[in-house]
Each structure stands twice: as C-alpha cells, then as structure tokens.
C-alpha cells in the first residue's frame, strides 16, 4: 500500500461527504415539489408531459396506487425494450446489420435494465446496434434511477407525514427527478466526458490502419451520453463489454475519479435529503457516517489485499500487488477503490475484473452486494434498503431504553417489522437459494470457468449481483445460457420489486401513524452509539447469513492461496 493510494481513498471519501449536502438540497427541492431555477426553462416541458399523458401531478396516491402505477410503468417499459431488442434487425441505426437478440437474452436484458441492474450477458459493441443502446437501454438508465429515487421519496414521506393516507404522486416524482436532476446533470457530465476524449457519435465503427499496416475496425458510438447516466444513476451497464476499463468509456485518471464520485453523488445526497425531510439533518448525517465507516473498512481490506498481491506469484519472483485483470493506467489503488464503490452502490460498472482480484479482495465487493447494497447504495435503493436495517436496529435495541421502538418520530410496530423482515429476507432467499440450485444442477455447474471455491464464488457473485441489482460480473461465469439468463432474470426481478413493494407498504403504514415527539427518553438515532449499532446490525443480520457461503467461496479460496494452491 502507498501513501498515494490511501490519499486517493481518503480524498474520495471526503469529497463524497462534501457532495452530500448540495446534492441533498437539490433532491429535497424535488422531494417537496418546490420550484427550482430550472423550472423556468423546463417547467413547460414538465406540464406538457402531464397534459400529454393526462396526469394530474397533484393527485396524491396511497401506497397501493403508488405501487400499482409504478409496477405498470415498469412493465410497459420492460416490454418496450424487449420489443426493441427482438426487432433490432429491422430497426434503424443498425449499419452493421446486427441480428435480433434471442428471446431469453432479450428478456434478461430488458429485466436487467428495468431493475437498474444492468447485468450484461452480451458484449455491447458486438451485439447491440446504436438504436438498441440509445433507445432500448438508455431510457432505463434514466427511468430506473428516477423510479428508485421516487420510491425513496415515498418512504421519506412515510416517515415525515403525520396521519396521512398518501405518499405523493409516482408520475410527478419520476418526471421531476428525470427532468430537473438527471437530465441536466447528464448533459453537463456528458460534455465533460466528450472533452476528455469519450466518443459521442452515431457512427458505429471506425476503420483504422495500425503501424504494422493491419486494418482494424474500432467500435464507437454514442458513448458519452450513456456513460454519464450509467454512473450517476448507478446503472453500470457499459457501452462496451470492458465497461469502464475500456479507454473510450474511461479515458483519463480524472474521468475515473469523477466516475467514482458520480456513483455515490446521488446516494449520499439522499441521506441528507432524508434528514431534511424528517426535520433533522443529523439523522441523515448519522446514516451517511455509518455508510462511510462500512465503506472505508471495505475499501481498506480490498486495497490491502490487492496491494499485498498473490504469495504464489511472489514465489515465482513476481513482486508487488495483484495486477491481474487491472488496467495499468489505474493501478491497484484506483481499481480496488472503484470495485468497492461500484458494489457498495448498486452500480456495477467496473474498471477492473473482480474475478481476477485476490480472494479476499474480491470478497469485499461480493459482501457489499450481499449486505443489500446499503453502503450508499443504488440511487434510492440504497437509502430505502438502509432504512429497513435502521428500523430493524431500532426494533432490536430500541426496547432497551424502555419504550416502544421509535424511529424519527414513528413507532415501529408489528406490521412494520413484518414488512421489513420480508423485504430483508428476500435477499438471502434469492441469492443463496438460486446459488444452491446452480451448485447442484448440471446446467449451473457448466457455468463457472474455474474449479474449486473460486468457481463457487463466480456463481455466488452472479446471483448476488443479480438479486442486489448490481450488475457487475465476477466474469469467469459463462452466463449467456438460457439457464443463467432465466434464473438471473428471476433474481433481478425479485431483488428489485419484492423489495420495493414491501417498502411502499411500510411507507403507507408509517404515513398513517401519529408523530411521536422526541424527548430525552426517546431512543437516540443521531450519535456515534447509533452509528455503531447500525453497523453491528447490518453486519450481524445482513452479513452473517452469508458467512457459510463466503467460507466455502472466497475464504476457502484465500486460505488455499496462502497455502500455495490456486484455482
């Protein structure tokens, strides 16, 4: 490890914390439906959309209606993307004449992008036309991110409102977040990327002649516009197969740093927005503090492991850190940091191949996902996942102050506990259940590239990534088969919507409750004690469940490596 490496990690953390408030303020304005300076320009567009769709943005919706409209919307855009992929061959902007995508693959990709997972079983530059990328996929990058934030807003309202029957309007939340936040930010972001050398063109290939006189076809396309929302909306689906390891997606060290920052920017902002929404910004800071402690611990372990390298290779005289699967441009620290950021959030973009990390270095990204991606997490999804754990923490330990557990003024009662447990239990059920299935069925066993515990890690990672809506791959796994396409589609769908619906039900339940004013006798949910408790509950309830699987995967892998055996 180097001072430079640690400086990078600490500087990054500091900037995330600095970004939390300004991003939070912006989000809070949208949460409240307040006028922003952008309204003067974009206001007519917003109203135009509503008129076109016949929507009254001020019509408040109860949780059931909010959930129903959200689900219908997801279904429609999902089918749209499925159709685009299936009809790719006859649709425009396909100069290379790429064929249509198969049914299982198209369904997998449509679900993958709808659920903000962006798991890619295909290579974007080989399989997809510019039309498919721009129209079929990128709309999801915006809409799935906006949906996540809308759900978070609905949950915030559940905590903030008193004896209310409604949670806001899904269409208004989704439209405002897209129009006043994601689009303007992405325009600026994309321009910065273009200036840094990221291609933005409707052409799909460039023919070049190399110094040796060989003719080369280089894939290009509308990369910058996709790249911006890919990071900001924690989507992670790359234009190219190599994702952010590709020089066209991630050309410079500065772009790399900005990409990492943009992954956490909205997630961190949402913690502040939550605090503001419930009337005490310290509530938000406490959450961000717990997230940052978990993040730094993870980043520390991965960086340490990657910098330590592989003792077996050291034996052969290969000194230094583990450089397998990493871009030399980025080196150990920036790759380790990127991997932890992208999995802590549910982004899934990668600038190095996680499969090639050391066993423990690669375990942290895996664990990050398994914890439910609550360390900042996906836009919206991170904070609502985290709030589930907060409710659980309050419930387990809250009684110890001699009162019925309360969180930010709302009593946590039987129904809330039931729904929170339901939402949290979906993760292990899906991740462990589907991994178990794949670990015994021949179709599943055909997937992993490597033998032994490392191969097991590859399967485990795939289902963790799918269920957690992360989308990053441990590579190594041949996932483009009907078996994996099908099971991963199930994982992604369940991981997203079997969590969102209970979350909305909780929001509805909380909104209807009375507000309990905070007193000296209330359970304190702002100080260091609370931060520590949150971390403990996340690790014990969220993490320990996966210990057996981790023991048989990365931990066994690591111990074998230490004793000189590689897989």
């Amino acid at each position: 490890m180097t001072v430079q490496g640690w400086t990078l990690i600490l500087l990054y953390t500091a900037l995330v914390v600095v970004l939390a408030k300004p991003m939070g303020m912006w989000l809070f304005a949208l949460y409240e439906g307040r006028e922003t300076p952008l309204h003067r320009v974009l206001g007519p567009v917003e109203r135009g959309f509503y008129r076109l769709a016949g929507i009254d943005p001020n019509a408040e919706q109860g949780w059931r209606r909010y959930a129903l409209h959200m689900l219908l919307f997801q279904l429609v855009v999902l089918l749209f993307t499925y159709a685009v992929l299936r009809l790719q061959a006859v649709l425009p902007l396909n100069p290379r004449g790429l064929a249509a995508i198969g049914a299982d693959g198209a369904m997998n990709t449509a679900i993958s992008f709808t659920t903000n997972t962006n798991w890619q079983w295909y290579s974007g530059e080989v399989a997809l036309s510019n039309f498919s990328q721009m129209v079929g996929l990128v709309i999801h990058n915006f809409l799935s991110a906006a949906t996540g934030i809308a759900i978070a807003f609905a949950l915030f309202r559940g905590f903030a409102r008193r004896e209310a029957g409604t949670l806001g309007n899904f269409w208004a939340d989704c439209t405002r977040v897209t129009l006043y936040l994601l689009l303007p930010l992405c325009v600026i972001y994309a321009l910065f990327l273009v200036a840094s050398g990221v291609p933005q063109t409707l052409a799909s290939t460039i023919d070049a002649t190399t110094l040796e006189g060989v003719k080369q076809t280089i894939a290009v396309g509308p990369v910058a516009s996709q790249e911006a929302i890919k990071m900001l909306g924690t989507n992670g689906g790359g234009f190219f197969n190599a994702n952010s390891a590709h020089p066209f997606e991630n050309p410079t060290a500065l772009v790399n740093f900005v990409q990492m920052l943009s992954i956490f920017a909205l997630g961190a902002g949402l913690t502040w927005c939550f605090g503001k929404a419930v009337g005490n910004t310290r509530q938000g800071w406490a959450i961000l503090a717990a997230m940052m402690v978990l993040f730094l611990a993870g980043a520390g372990v991965t960086y340490w492991q990657e910098a330590s390298g592989n003792p077996v290779l050291h034996h052969f005289g290969v000194a230094g850190g583990n450089m397998e699967g990493k871009e030399v441009r980025f080196g150990v620290a920036a790759s380790a940091l990127f991997s932890v950021v992208t999995t802590a959030a549910s982004c899934g973009a990668v600038n190095a191949m996680h499969d090639s990390f050391t066993a423990l270095g690669g375990m942290i990204p895996l664990l990050n996902i398994q914890l439910g991606e609550v360390v900042v997490g996906g836009v919206g999804a991170g904070i609502y996942g985290f709030l589930l754990f907060a409710m659980l923490a309050v419930f387990v330990a809250g009684l110890m102050v001699g009162r019925t557990p309360e969180y930010v003024g709302k009593k946590i009662e039987a129904r809330d506990v039931k729904l929170a447990v339901l939402a949290i239990a979906v993760l292990p059920l899906c991740i462990l259940g589907l991994t178990a299935l794949s670990a015994v069925l021949p179709d599943g066993l055909a997937g992993p590239l490597n033998k032994g515990p490392h191969g097991f890690s590859e399967i485990l990672y795939a289902f963790s990534s799918g269920t957690g809506n992360n989308g990053s791959a441990f590579a190594g796994l041949t996932a483009g088969t009907p078996f994996y396409n099908g099971l991963l589609s199930v994982a992604m769908w369940i991981g997203r919507f079997f969590m969102i619906v209970p979350v909305l039900a909780i929001a509805g339940n909380l909104a209807a409750k009375k507000y309990t004013p905070e007193t000296a006798g209330s359970f304190p949910t702002t100080g260091p004690l609370w931060v520590g408790l949150l971390i403990a509950v996340i690790l014990i309830v969220g993490g320990l469940t996966f210990l057996p699987s981790l023991a048989l995967g990365p931990i066994a892998d690591h111990l074998a490596m230490v004793s000189g055996q590689l897989f």
């Binding site: 008193r162 659980l392 419930f395 387990v396 330990a397 809250g398 009684l399 110890m400 102050v401 001699g402 009162r403 019925t404 003024g409 946590i412 009662e413 039987a414 809330d416 506990v417 039931k418 447990v421 339901l422 949290i424 239990a425 292990p428 059920l429 462990l432 259940g433 991994t435 178990a436 299935l437 670990a439 015994v440 515990p453 097991f456 009375k514 507000y515 309990t516 004013p517 007193t519 000296a520 006798g521 209330s522 359970f523 304190p524 004690l529 403990a536 014990i540 309830v541 320990l544 996966f546 210990l547 057996p548 699987s549 023991a551 048989l552 931990i555 066994a556 111990l559 074998a560 004793s563």
Partner: protein, 668 residues
C-alpha cells in the same frame, strides 16, 4: 398474599418441571414458533437416530438430541415457572372467594355465584361481601386485606366517591346494602385471579412484533442453513443432517424466544406485587411509553393538609392580637389547618391559651357560610374564606386593604383565611401547601427521562403557579374540572404523546378511560375502577411514577435479552462453521478462533451453551434488568455495553469453557 421469596424455591420449581413437559403439546408449542422449530428439528434427529444412516458416532448424535430437547424444555420450563409464581398468588385469592354466600334483603341466604348484576344484598358485621358492588345504603368499615394486604379498615359509604366494595372483603362494623355491579365470574377478584395466573394472557402488541422478528430471523437462518448442503455438494462433500440441525438451532433466537413469555408474565407479576393490577399487558407496556404524567396536587405533590405559615394583620392591628383571635377561632377546629393555626400562634407568638373559654359556643363550618369560629364572653371570632368573612362583616372598614393582602398571599402560592372579631377585620392567616419531601428531585429525574409532569389542582391559577414552581413540575392545570382534565389529555394525545393519570371519583372516569394509562384508586368508585386500565390497591397516587418505571423495566428486559440473543450468534458461527467445513477445505480450520478441541466437541459445546444460557437467564427474565431512571442516551450506552457487547463476548468464553469440559470428559 403469599410472596415466594426465591425464584427457585422447590415449591415452585417442582410443579414447573411437570408443566414444562405438559407444554410440549404441539398445539401449545406452536404458539412459540422458534421453540416449535427447535422441537421439530429435535424430533427429526430422533427419528434419524432410530432409522440410522447418519455418518456420525452414535454417542455424539444422542448427546446432540438430548441437548436439543433440553433447549425446548428449558424454554417451556421458564414459562411454567413464571406462571407458577402467579398461580401461587392466585391460590390465596381463590381461597378468599370460594365460600362466599349472600344475604338477600328478605333474609334468604344464597351462594354468591348465583348473584346477578342489579341484585341487592345486605352485608352485616363480620360478613364477607359476596360480590363487587356499590353501597346504596349505610356506612361500614371494611377490611380489604384479602386484596390489598393492608389490614387497616377503610370506610365505605353510600353516595360519594367511596361507595365501591369488592367481593371477598369483610365488613367489620355496621351494616350496608350493596347493589351487585358485576355478572358472576367477571368480578374484580375473578379478573385478578385470571390475571395473576396468566390464564387470560394475550400477547401484547410489542410481543407480537417481537415474535414476528424472531420468526423472520428463523426464516432467514433456515435459508442460510438449508442451502449449505448444495454448497457442500459443489465442494465435493456432504454435511450430516445432525450438524446442519445444530447450526440452525444455535443461530435461531432460541434464547429470547424461550424467555419472551416469562418476561411478560413476570412483568405483570411485579406489578401485582406492587399492589397494582393492570387489566392488560398492553397497559403495562403503555406505561413504559408515557410522555406526560398528570399528577393530582394533593397527596402526590403536597402533603394533603395545608399549614398556617404567617399572620398578617391589617394596619392598626398588632400581630399578637391577630394571632390571639385566630387561635380562639381555631381552638375547636379539629381540621389539620385549624390545628396548624393553633400551633403557629402558640409557638411563634407566645399565645398561651389552651382551653376553650367558659361558656363558649362553637360556630361550625358549613358549606353555605364557609366560615367557622367561636362565640364566647370574649366576643365573636370568625375565620374563613376571605369572601365569606367579608360578606359576614359588610360594614367593616379596611376591607379593600384586606382584599389586597389576601391577593398577595394567593399570588405567593398560599391560601388566605380572613379573621374578624366582633365585626372588625383583623387580618389574614396564610395557609401554605407543604411540598412533599423529595418530589422536586423526582420530577427532575422524570424530566431527564423525557417525561413531562403536569400538576392538576382545584386551586386558582396564582396559587397553582407558585406551587408548581416550588415543586418543579413542568406545567399545571389550575381550577381543574373533570372536563378540563379530559380536554388536556386529548390535547396531549393529539400531539402524539401518551398520558398517564390517576383518579378516584366518578367524575374522573371519562379522563381515566381516555388516558393511555389510567390508574384508578381502589378506594374510588366502581365507575372509576371500571374506567381505568389499572387499579392501585393501596390507593397511593404517587405510585404512578413507579408504574412507569415498571413498564420501562419490562420493555428493557425484553430488548436486553433480544440484543443478547442476536449478538450470541457471532460466536456460534465461529464455533460451528469451521467444524462443519474443515473436512471440505482443511484451511478453514483457521476460523476456529476459539481453538476448540475437535469438530464434534465444537458443535456439542455450541449447542450446550445455547441450551444452558436459557436457565442461566431465567432469573434475569423474571426479576427484570436493573432499571435506573436516566435519559435514553446513557441508558442505551449502558445496556448496549452490558447486553450487546456482553452478548458478543459471553458465548466465546462460555463455549470455550464447555469445550474444555466436553473434551476433558471425553464426551466428544
């Protein structure tokens, strides 16, 4: 009441062991899903042992099965023990109730069980009152020791706020007619028996929520353990069912699940021992959540009686003259206020008279005149409410001066009494409320706990404000009518706060019913006792504060043991995971951080620890965790250190010690 001194006295433990087995009935056990799961797993292993096929040593399997069954039995035992304690108390109550007979107005005797609501009975000296009811005629002194444990008799009389009588109590003088107010089997005593026995126990909202959490954790761990065979299969091995079962049972929250109902029963029981009857467990929990305490001034904040503190003469009258007159007017006054005037005059102003003057005639206090005094050869002296004395002496000069002085006294929180002699106004006596010793500190303590105190008084706002300031309450309600009280409770509840109050009169009933915790005084009317959700058998309004403490203690005990139980899992993982997987990947032996002697011993030690921790924590569950009134922050820090950190560390130590024993004795 019989009060078993030791939790583990043989008188209670022996029957509890029998009950522990009886509670293995699946229909009974299914109410506790975690223990039910444990029993199912234990049964499964028992069957597997019989049919054979597990690749494990027979002795090891048998030990495992024994400990699993013991885990279930310890859980049912904890509940049985808690119930047994209540039943011992119920037995003495039932004895009082069994042979009640009633005397009807026509002289016939009928068994009390035949009495219906509305029947009239006559109870004479020495009789036991046959049913709950209301005195409609007569006055009697009644010994209520059977329910309160207090042997000093109390007065029960028709009309007013002391008309309720309870079945099983004894009339020791006079005769009364009582109208029965309860249907048979639903009387106060019946409900009390049912309550302390736990027969009618329903899960409280909080227990339900906690049970859901425990079921949720059980499901999550079922998933975690249920997928292991597939993972092991991938690694080319097989994990015996017995070992998976051991991991599952140690991970699911058996400890808190086993103790949960015992904690609830014991909490109610503590309240009963404190001579407070809660009509539901819900009320006890609400007590822990209380944000606002409405406290009656008299008896709770101040000692019941006011005391003379000062003589203030009008200009032209000497203090001694006023003291002399006030003493004369009070010599025949037997009220504590009157006596305090005599004491003040004698001690501070040297007035020496001790006996009534010859030929004196007492002017008694009546509600109409609102003054009292003495007519004697020395003249007529009067003392009473300022308005009343002024009205009786309309021609007196200096009336405005007297009125001004009276107002000043009222503003300082005291009550003025005017004194007149032969139509001449002499001055004012100030009567002071005496704040009870220590209440100020208690209110400060409550404030630190986040509980607001509101003093309820019939005094005027000036007096009330001054007493409130002196006693250190946060707020007060002056000239309070029952409607005001009700309105105040509603207003606080609107703001999301939970309110506790106590009361005794019929006109308190609506407020008692509205309050989240309404403690009715046992001396109060039947209406009040029906309206409240608790009854204080000692009729001591200060107990409201302790009731809040008991509610908090109940919730804290539950939280502490839940936290302890969940934190325990870390060590259990580290005991069993390496033991389970070391055959697949020998390297995983490094996870055996406790250096347990063998995989079998590690698994056995974890399961033994998991079982033994239940009886080890039974005393804590029954007694409740130590409760100290303090703010939530420090309280949480303390409890997290003890039960959170303790819960992390204790099983590491415990499992290691058990492993040393298991290995030393060659059990595995």
């Amino acid at each position: 009441m019989t009060t078993p001194s030791s939790i583990f006295s043989a008188k209670l433990v022996v029957p509890a062991i029998g009950d522990a087995f009886r509670k293995l009935d699946p229909r009974e056990l299914v109410k506790n899903p975690v223990l039910f799961t444990t029993a199912v797993v234990a049964s499964l292993l028992t069957v597997l042992l019989v049919i054979g096929g597990e690749p494990l040593p027979l002795g090891f399997q048998m030990q495992l099965i024994v400990w699993l069954w013991l885990t279930v039995l310890f859980g049912t035992f904890a509940e049985a023990l808690a119930e047994g304690r209540g039943r011992a108390q119920a037995a003495s109550l039932r004895a009082a109730k069994s042979e009640l007979t009633a005397r009807l107005p026509d002289g016939r005797m009928v068994p009390a069980s035949r009495l219906k609501r509305g029947d009239i009975v006559v109870v004479e000296t020495g009789d036991l009152i046959p049913a709950d009811g209301e005195v409609i005629e007569g006055v009697a002194s009644v010994n209520e020791a059977a329910i309160t444990g207090e042997s000093a008799p109390v007065i029960r009389e028709a009309g007013g706020d002391r008309s309720a009588v309870t079945a099983g109590t004894r009339v020791i003088s006079d005769s009364i007619r009582v109208r029965v107010t309860q249907e048979p089997g639903q009387g106060f005593l019946d409900r009390m028996i049912a309550l302390v026995e736990g027969a009618e126990r329903q899960k409280t909202p909080n227990e339900i929520a906690l049970t859901i959490l425990l079921v949720g954790l059980t499901i999550i761990f079922l998933i975690a353990v249920g997928t292991i065979p597939a993972f092991a299969h991938y690694a080319g091995g097989m994990i015996p069912v017995a070992i998976l079962a051991a991991l599952l049972i140690t991970l699911i929250p058996t400890t808190i699940a086993a103790l949960l109902s015992a904690i609830g029963i014991a909490g109610m029981d503590r309240l009963v021992r404190f001579n407070v009857l809660a009509k539901s467990g819900r009320a006890v929990e609400a007590a822990g959540d209380v944000d606002v305490l409405l406290l009656d001034k008299t008896g709770t904040i101040t000692v019941g009686d006011r005391q003379a503190s000062e003589f203030r003469p009008v200009p032209g009258v000497s203090v001694n003259a006023l003291a002399e007159a006030a003493l004369l007017a009070s010599l025949a006054d037997e009220t504590p206020e009157g006596r305090s005037i005599v004491v003040l005059a004698r001690d501070k102003f040297g007035v020496t008279r001790v006996a009534l003057p010859e030929g004196a005639e007492v002017i008694p206090f009546t509600a109409q005149t609102r003054l009292s005094g003495l007519k004697s050869p020395l003249g007529i002296v009067q003392k009473g409410a300022v308005d009343a004395v002024l009205r009786a002496n309309p021609a007196a000069p200096v009336a405005s001066e007297l009125r001004r002085m009276a107002e000043e006294i009222a503003r300082s929180g005291q009550t003025p009494l005017a004194v007149a002699q032969d139509g001449r106004l002499l001055g004012v006596v100030a009567l002071k409320d005496v704040i009870k010793a220590g209440v100020r500190e208690r209110f400060a303590q409550l404030r630190r706990m986040g509980i607001r105190t509101v003093m309820i008084t019939g005094d005027n706002p000036l007096t009330a404000a001054s007493i409130a300031a002196e006693a250190g309450v946060d707020d007060f309600l002056a000239e309070a009518t029952p409607e005001d009280k009700l309105a105040l409770i509603r207003k606080e509840q609107q703001g999301g706060r939970l309110v506790a109050m106590c009361g005794d009169g019929t006109n308190d009933a609506p407020a008692l019913a509205q309050a989240d915790v309404g403690v009715a005084m046992n001396t109060g009317t039947q209406a009040a006792r029906e309206a409240g959700n608790m009854v204080d058998l000692d009729s001591d309004p200060t107990k409201l504060i302790e009731i809040v403490g008991l509610g908090k203690q109940l919730l804290m005990t539950r939280g502490a043991l839940t936290t302890f139980s969940v934190a325990n899992d870390v060590a259990k993982y580290f005991a069993i995971i390496p033991a389970m997987f070391v055959a697949l990947y020998p390297g995983l032996g490094v996870l055996n951080v406790m250096r347990l002697s063998s995989p079998e011993s590690a698994i056995l030690s974890a399961i033994i620890f998991n079982a033994l921790i239940i009886p080890a924590l039974v005393p804590l569950a029954l007694k409740g965790v130590t409760y100290r009134p303090m703010a939530a922050g420090p309280l949480l820090a303390r409890n997290l250190a003890v039960y959170g950190l303790g819960g992390l560390v204790a099983p590491f130590v415990g499992i290691k010690l058990i492993d040393l024993a298991v290995a030393g004795l060659h059990f595995a």
